[in-house]
């Protein structure tokens, strides 16, 4: 646990290194933080506007609904990818230098958080354009957001042991994530019946997405309780995962080489 504290400073340094390097070598810079979800939502906005899909019950203009959904979803996906990406990227360093290994995970999550803050600006922009007015439930917004970050993190952490050894996992994540997005009420409101209803109940990310968006739009928070449960569970699992991470890192380093 002491290493988590000493690793904090290091994590911050690593994060600043990555941040500076990342945006120094791109032309559009911070635009890349929200371009992918925006493009993804445009697909659905197009389908809806042409009457190809008829998604109802969004409560707010569909374009705003879809964009908010994808922006939130993106944060989850990024935090899910973060641990494995961090380990893979730091491989040469991990194989040669002994430093608190948690630091690279933390640095990765700082980056996810930073990207989220950029997206948050866009979220408020979307709300302003479509005149979405939040109510007092806006104050609850950090909770489902924390849930999205932690849920992504603990799933990502669970992928590290296998993903650190076999390259298949890294390749599979985007495909699974894309499919998973369609199974989650990201671009459509949660259903209560049918297969979509079952998925909305048993998909742990569903309550987080709907609650996070609900907090912003001022709509009723039907799944608030579930969202709290998922958030708490994610935190507990993440802590256990961090301990496991420590134990397995020597094995990974041994097998994955420099």
């Amino acid at each position: 646990m002491a290493d988590v504290v000493t690793g904090r400073e290091l994590a911050w340094r690593l994060f600043m290194r990555d941040l500076k390097a990342q945006y120094r070598q791109t032309y559009f810079g911070y635009l890349w933080a929200f371009l992918p979800p925006l493009v993804a939502s445009l697909t659905f906005i197009f389908l809806q506007s042409q009457g190809i899909t008829k998604i109802e019950g969004t409560g707010i203009p569909y374009a705003a609904f879809a964009m908010m959904g994808t922006l939130l979803w993106q944060t989850f996906v990024e935090s899910m990818q973060s641990p494995l990406a961090a380990v893979t990227k730091a491989k040469p360093m991990l194989a040669k230098i002994n430093f608190p290994r948690e630091a690279i995970l933390m640095a990765g999550m700082y980056m996810v958080g930073f990207n989220f803050l950029i997206r948050l600006v866009l979220l408020f922009l979307v709300m302003a354009v479509w005149k979405v007015v939040p109510t007092a439930t806006l104050l609850l917004f950090p909770l489902p957001m924390l849930g999205l970050l932690m849920a992504g993190f603990c799933i990502g952490l669970a992928l590290v042991p296998v993903g650190g050894l076999y390259g298949d996992v890294v390749k599979a994540i985007p495909i699974v994530a894309q499919f998973w997005m369609l199974l989650t009420p990201v671009v459509y409101p949660a259903r209560s019946s049918g297969l979509a209803g079952v998925l909305a109940t048993w998909n742990p990310i569903s309550p987080l997405i709907t609650t996070a968006r609900g907090c912003l739009t001022g709509q009723p928070l039907d799944q608030l309780f579930e969202a709290i449960v998922v958030t708490l569970l994610s935190i507990v699992v993440s802590l256990i995962g961090l301990i496991a991470f420590r134990l397995i890192m020597p094995h990974l380093i041994e097998r994955m080489g420099g």
């Binding site: 690593l14 290194r17 120094r24 230098i97 050894l165 397995i248 097998r255």
Partner: protein, 418 residues
């Protein structure tokens, strides 16, 4: 209280140590580590080991009692012992040299000492801050400036923020980076990068210092600075040094650990083992023989020879050459190689031999003044131009000198004091 590396890969914390320190800083007992030859299997075994590690009910090496001893029967298919039952202790001020062939397990042992990987059985106890002069500049980001990279690299090596600020100028001065310090590292020459890496690495003052061959980097002037910096670090630390340079080992280490196929071949005073190791090096390398000759030559034979086995004895060779058509031999070169090391002597002769049919050539040297070791002789015959090769015989014969002279070729200096 010593801390164990085995259960966690925790970077050892700094502990106050009183000067009259009798307890060893490094205790390695019966350490074993297995490695796998096949990549596919290695990954699968990795999965198994991880599952094993995470299963709280399984018997692991690193449980509190350390009673687990890995046996040969624990080796899975394609596995072997990279390090097998190695033990030693090291105190402050001591320097242990790790010697052995490539693949003897030196690097694996270093990785375990550095806490990067864990032993399969046995234990390693390290007391104090561990510093490793390995992987200089690992984690440098090419896009960031030298200054920014100093911040990152030094934090990775465990320095605190204010420590880094204090040492910043010192590091820049030592690395001789000058005005380039705010330029991106990718614009640095490779020499500048290693100098910067070295300068950062040596600001950490460890209790236990691990050195892997990086005794000096850069040009001659910088190397001298490196050696000075390292000797300062070594003064107050327990040092483990891996080097293929026998001179460095002899000069710096008071003890050596000789590994052969993961096992301890010898552990003791440097002088006792280094020479035996050197001799074994050349013994294990066979003399390679290759004979090539031009189309004009029918055959080349060694018909008689006399080889030295003591210092200052002559070498005699009698070679029969059979040429199908007339050839002119104008240059003959005879070289002596220390087997598996390098050429140590060469003689180039200007001659004028016209050869048709069989001719016998005699060669005789004066006394050969070389240190003990295994040597092989190479002979080559050329025409007027060295591009015109008539015959080259690598390893025409070999000889072994055993006269008790190890260090280097002995020379006699007259010394007079005025």
């Amino acid at each position: 209280m010593p801390m164990t590396i085995a259960p966690t890969t925790e970077r050892t914390s700094i502990m106050p140590i009183d000067p009259p320190q009798e307890d060893p800083l490094v205790v390695v007992s019966n350490v074993k580590k297995k490695f796998c030859r096949s990549l596919k299997k290695s990954l699968w075994y990795g999965m198994q080991d991880i599952a094993h590690e995470l299963n709280p009910f399984s018997r692991r090496t690193d449980r509190a009692d350390h009673s687990f001893v890995a046996e040969d029967s624990d080796l899975r298919a394609d596995e072997f012992w990279a390090v097998n039952d190695v033990s030693f202790e090291l105190r402050r001020g001591e320097c242990l040299g790790l010697i052995g062939h490539n693949g003897a397990g030196k690097t694996t042992l270093l990785k375990m000492l550095n806490g990067l990987i864990k032993p399969d059985s046995g234990r390693i106890e390290m007391t104090g801050r561990v510093g490793a002069l390995i992987a200089l500049g690992a984690g440098f980001n090419p896009i960031l400036s030298g200054r920014e990279n100093i911040h990152v690299n030094a934090s990775v090596l465990g320095l605190k923020k204010d420590e880094i600020e204090d040492k910043m100028e010192e590091i820049i001065d030592f690395a001789e980076i000058g005005e380039f310090i705010d330029a991106p590292v990718q614009s640095y020459s490779s020499g500048m990068q290693v100098r910067l890496g070295f300068a950062i690495a040596t600001t950490v003052k460890p209790d236990i210092l691990i050195l892997d061959e990086v005794l000096a980097v850069g040009d001659a002037a910088f190397r001298a600075k490196c050696e000075l910096a390292i000797s300062e670090l070594m003064d107050d630390a327990a040092v483990i040094l891996v080097s293929h340079n026998a001179l460095h080992i002899r000069r710096l280490c008071n003890r050596v650990l000789w590994l052969r196929r993961g096992q301890t071949e010898g552990l003791g005073p440097t002088d006792d083992y280094l020479d035996r190791y050197g001799t074994s090096l050349s013994e294990e390398k066979k003399i390679e023989q290759t004979l090539v000759y031009s189309d004009s030559v029918r055959r080349v034979d060694l018909i008689d020879s006399q080889v030295p086995n003591q210092f200052n004895q002559p070498l005699k060779l009698q070679i029969k050459i059979d040429a199908a058509e007339e050839i002119a031999i104008n240059n003959i070169v005879i070289g002596i190689h220390e087997v598996g090391v390098r050429q140590v002597a060469q003689s180039a002769m200007k001659v004028d031999y016209r050869v048709v049919g069989e001719r016998i050539l005699n060669f005789e040297t004066e006394g050969i003044r070389l240190k003990d070791g295994n040597y092989s002789v190479t002979i080559a015959m050329y025409g007027e131009q060295f591009s015109e090769l008539h015959a080259r015989w690598v390893g025409v014969l070999g000889f072994k000198l055993e006269s008790g002279i190890y260090g280097g070729t002995p020379y006699h200096f007259e010394s007079v004091v005025h």
